[in-house]
């Protein structure tokens, strides 16, 4: 039965004890984030367990499952401590080698990262992906087992909370957070200290504190990694915040689509209660606070703070007008402090190292680090934590390793569906809250989707508009109707039936939605339209005036063609075609019937590489004689 922890000293003693327990052993840690689990890291874990037992090495080797390491492209990731040796892409057949070498104190060279010259890099922190990052919030993910509160305590966990409860008044805490200039990491960027102060001063009891983990941006999974890989850090921040504003009850609102995360946070709360770190009289200080987990049920708009509050109240998760803001009138109309997971996770570090330390990271107006999920057409997909002010170019090329398959960079989409695109000429923009907003996009919660020359901006914008229209609550006309009408226009453009006035119409609707929508979903939805129109207008014009899709994506505007000179008549494509559109005699060049072709691309995939006889063409089947207009940048508009 765990004994309650009563003071900062208790925590320090426990930390020393746990650290000593590890001193004489070697630790093999394997990443068990959802991403690596999808790569069967669980099977690797069981395999390692068996192998260690087989070699009777349980006394010398401790096997641990950790949270997400972030280098998701190369999972499953295994790290050996205390050396810090990192093995990438571990599969079950590598297990005997890993265990064998670790027992002997040697390194399994074949599994280690190799740079361009083939030189091995042994330590995780030296790998280029990690070297250029500044890991603060994610730093501990690779060192601890998220299901173990003892592991968190071992690395100094909950000591910030103890310090706050023993030595600081609530006003001092608020002052520290204000001085640090911690801005909300969920996308809004509102100064957290100010929000805390408003909530504290607002009249009304009881006050609530909420963790917003309803991370709905597709392609973004920073919050999942924090909450799943180090749930106690978020809890610690939450309790500190609750103390600062005088709240006795908290909620963690987490997506149902993150089952591992839900399990980990529930377990963390249970363990914290057992140690007296949650509940009545926390750490013997007289402060009471407890937390409940609420799961979302699949609505993107419920991540908006007012919609989230309605969801917790058991109602339909639709946004309500602001003001009043949740800080004054939130859950059940009481003052409610609601912050994003990453914001909360920063708090223990700020208390531990001080506001000044936090301000040394980042830029003048945006202090600290930010986690980005770098995904799409990059070589190194994963979670990246950098100080604010690092340029997009550095993130994509230095950390991300450049564009996959040697293609050319086209644009990077930031901020999820609420953000816009940034073209190549703006790659040297420093990333922080304000710079990106000036460029027309926003940093948002940290999603960063890299696109190359094979992505069509019209198609991508249509994709985001469809997503937003699907997720829109439908309450206000500008958002509900604006999105729908814009989608009709895009569908016409993608079919080759675009009209001249479409572009002006899109701008007008965008302006209307920005001014008149009820919540941020509607006001930020036009960002993608406006930025793609601004930076990629020639692509739209090619679709409208010439019925060409330069990136060869929009199905009505492309055709798959078999090159008669290259085709050997092997028939692989005939088998692959789901609609039997390919005909031809054996060993003679085949041909595709454009009318029945559904442009799925299966034939191109099936064609053996030595022939590579199938290619995509645009503009052949549908070019009409239209009055030619001048296009902004001289683009080669002949049939490509």
């Amino acid at each position: 039965m765990p004994i309650k922890i009563n003071s900062l000293n208790d925590l320090k003693q426990k930390a020393n004890k746990f650290e000593k327990q590890l001193e004489s052993s070697t630790v093999i840690s394997i990443c068990s984030g959802t991403g690596c689990k999808a790569y069967s890291s669980d099977d690797v874990y069981s395999g390692l367990q068996r192998e260690i037992k087989k070699n009777k090495a349980e006394g010398k080797i401790i096997l641990k499952r950790t949270g997400c390491h972030g280098y998701c492209e190369r999972g499953p990731i295994v790290v050996i401590y205390p050396q810090g040796t990192c093995y990438l892409g571990v599969t079950e057949k590598d297990i005997p080698e890993i265990v064998g070498k670790t027992i002997k104190g040697e390194v399994a060279e074949s599994l280690v990262y190799k740079d361009e010259d083939g030189k091995p890099i042994f330590k995780e922190s030296d790998i280029p992906f990690y070297k250029f990052q500044k890991r603060v919030v994610l730093s501990n993910n690779s060192k601890i087992d998220p299901k173990s509160i003892d592991d968190y305590i071992r690395i100094g966990g909950y000591q910030s909370l103890a310090r706050v409860l023993e030595k600081m008044e609530p006003e001092d805490v608020i002052k520290t957070v204000k001085d640090a200039n911690l801005r909300g990491r969920g996308g809004g960027g509102f100064p957290a200290g100010t929000k805390w102060e408003i909530t504290r001063k607002a009249p009304g009891e009881p006050k609530y504190t909420i963790v917003n983990s309803d991370e709905g941006d597709p392609g973004a999974y920073m919050d999942r990694s924090i909450l799943e890989g180090n749930p106690h850090s978020v809890l610690e921040g939450l309790i500190i915040g609750a103390y600062a504003v005088g709240s006795g009850k908290g909620f963690v609102f987490v997506r149902h689509e993150y089952p591992q995360t839900v399990e980990n946070i529930r377990m963390a709360i249970k363990r914290a209660r057992e140690y007296g770190l949650l509940g009545k009289n926390i750490l013997d200080s007289g402060f009471d606070f407890d937390v409940e987990v609420h799961e979302g049920a699949g609505a993107f708009v419920s991540g908006e703070e007012t919609a989230l509050l309605r969801s917790i109240e058991g109602k339909v998760g639709e946004p309500t007008p602001k003001p009043p803001y949740p800080a004054t009138e939130g859950l059940y109309s009481k003052p409610t402090l609601i912050n994003n997971v990453e914001t909360w996770a920063n708090v223990p570090f700020i208390i531990k190292n001080g506001a000044e330390w936090f301000r040394t990271l980042g830029t003048k107006k945006s202090s600290g680090t930010k986690i980005f999920s770098l995904v799409g057409k990059v070589n190194n997909t994963g979670l990246v934590e950098v100080p604010m002010g690092v340029t997009l170019r550095d993130i994509i090329f230095k950390i991300g390793g450049g564009i996959k398959n040697g293609k050319k960079f086209k644009a990077v989409q930031t901020g999820g569906p609420s953000g816009g695109v940034i073209p190549g000429e703006l790659l040297d923009l420093p990333i922080d809250f304000d710079e990106l907003t000036k460029a027309g996009t926003m940093m948002g919660s940290g999603g960063m989707v890299v696109m190359d020359e094979s992505d069509c901006m019209v198609n991508v914008t249509h994709y985001f508009l469809k997503f937003l229209a699907d997720e829109s609550c439908g309450k206000c006309v500008p958002c509900r109707e604006g999105l729908r009408q814009m989608i009709y226009i895009y569908e016409r453009i993608m079919e080759g039936k675009g009209r001249e006035e479409d572009l002006k119409l899109l701008s007008d609707i965008s302006m209307l939605m920005k001014e008149a929508s009820l919540c941020a979903l509607g006001t930020t939805a036009p960002n993608i339209v406006v930025t793609t129109l601004k930076y990629f207008r020639e692509e739209y014009e090619a679709h409208i005036y010439y019925n060409i899709c330069p990136a060869k994506v929009c199905r009505p505007l492309i055709s798959y063609v078999i090159d008669k000179n290259k085709c050997a008549g092997c028939g692989s494509c005939v088998k692959a075609c789901p609609v039997d559109a390919i005909t031809g005699e054996n060993k003679k060049p085949h041909s595709i019937d454009d009318k029945s072709c559904i442009k799925c691309g299966s034939c191109m995939e099936a064609c053996p590489e030595k022939y590579s006889a199938i290619e995509k063409k645009t503009g052949i089947a549908v070019v009409e004689e239209k009055e030619k207009k001048e296009i902004r940048s001289g683009m080669n508009i002949k049939s490509q």
Partner: protein, 317 residues
């Protein structure tokens, strides 16, 4: 409980009001008349179902509501939180001014039980068959409502509703779920999540039950289940296939992957295969962007399987 005269009066009143006695309603009333004590909805269902198997829980609830509105039955106390009903004997003012004549005692059967149909078969209405114009109008309205309800009932049956024993068991499970969330209205979404985890979908009789226990109208419950995408209001397949359509997967070819799956299964996203083996769905991000495009079957992930590989994978299930 009631003496014979009151029962006759009661049945007279039913006919006088132009209240159409269908088979189901007759059985419900019979059950109440036969049993000397008050019955809960569940007990009523159990006993009625034994007589006529085409009665479902939804029918019981509907009829209880209707009969209550018509002041033919009333709520009489609670049994562990469940309302109990019995035939209503005390009468307020009626529409017709003259009191109905008592029915001849020769209709009383030897067992002492009286069947409503007997009374209707015999011409006991002192005003003769037919009725006033208002009665006919009322009959038509009620008939229309009834047809609507019968259609609902058939729809539910066609959607593979559960058997009687399972229904009774269900309420025990649902009671546990409601208790786990402190019987609070505000925890409705959490309760529905648990129900869906248990049954893979939200059967209508369970929604009605939760509504009646927590005093939430069915409209409000449907408002929530139709707003949040996670909830299924129709039975779904044994295995769920989910294709990620998040941005990262989209740029890596999620649409092509979806097309390949649709070609093999023959169903669109949101639909279930005819043999109820697979349900195909899309989500907006699974959080494993490095594997994109990702497909998930139950809780196993697959990264960009080709058509051939897909066929092998699907055969495994």
């Amino acid at each position: 409980m009631e003496n014979n005269t009151n029962i006759q009066t009661y049945l007279q009143r039913i006919k006088k009001r132009g209240f159409r006695l269908t088979k189901t309603r007759t059985i419900v009333l019979d059950t109440l008349l036969e049993n000397q004590k008050e019955l809960t909805a569940g007990e009523l269902f159990f006993l009625s179902h034994k007589k006529y198997s085409k009665i479902g829980m939804a029918t019981i609830y509907r009829n209880i509501k209707l009969l209550e509105e018509e002041s033919l039955i009333k709520r009489a106390g609670f049994d562990e939180g469940k309302a109990k009903y019995r035939i209503r004997t005390g009468w307020g003012p009626t529409r017709k001014k003259s009191d109905p004549e008592p029915v001849k005692s020769k209709l009383v059967k030897s067992s002492g039980q009286i069947k409503t149909t007997d009374i209707l078969m015999g011409n006991t209405n002192p005003r003769g068959t037919g009725g006033s114009y208002r009665d006919v109008e009322r009959i038509n309205i009620i008939q229309g409502q009834l047809n609507g309800w019968l259609n609902d009932l058939n729809e539910i049956k066609e959607k593979k509703e559960l058997e009687l024993e399972d229904v009774i068991k269900d309420f025990g499970t649902v009671d546990k779920i409601i208790n786990n969330h402190d019987n609070q209205k505000s925890n409705l979404i959490q309760m529905l999540l648990d129900v869906q985890n248990e049954y893979r979908w939200l059967p209508k009789h369970i929604l009605l039950y939760i509504g009646s226990k927590l005093d939430i109208s069915l409209t409000d419950i449907y408002g929530i289940t139709t707003f949040y995408k996670y909830f299924n209001l129709e039975p779904i397949g044994k295995h769920s296939i989910i294709v990620c359509m998040g941005t990262a997967c989209h740029v890596r070819g999620a649409m092509n992957l979806l097309q390949r799956i649709v070609n093999i299964l023959g169903v669109k996203p949101g639909d279930t295969t005819g043999d109820y083996k697979f349900t195909l769905d899309t989500v907006n991000c699974l959080g494993c962007c490095a594997l994109g495009p990702v497909m998930m079957i139950d809780n196993k992930y697959f990264s960009n399987p080709s058509t051939g590989k897909l066929k092998k994978i699907l055969n495994r299930f």
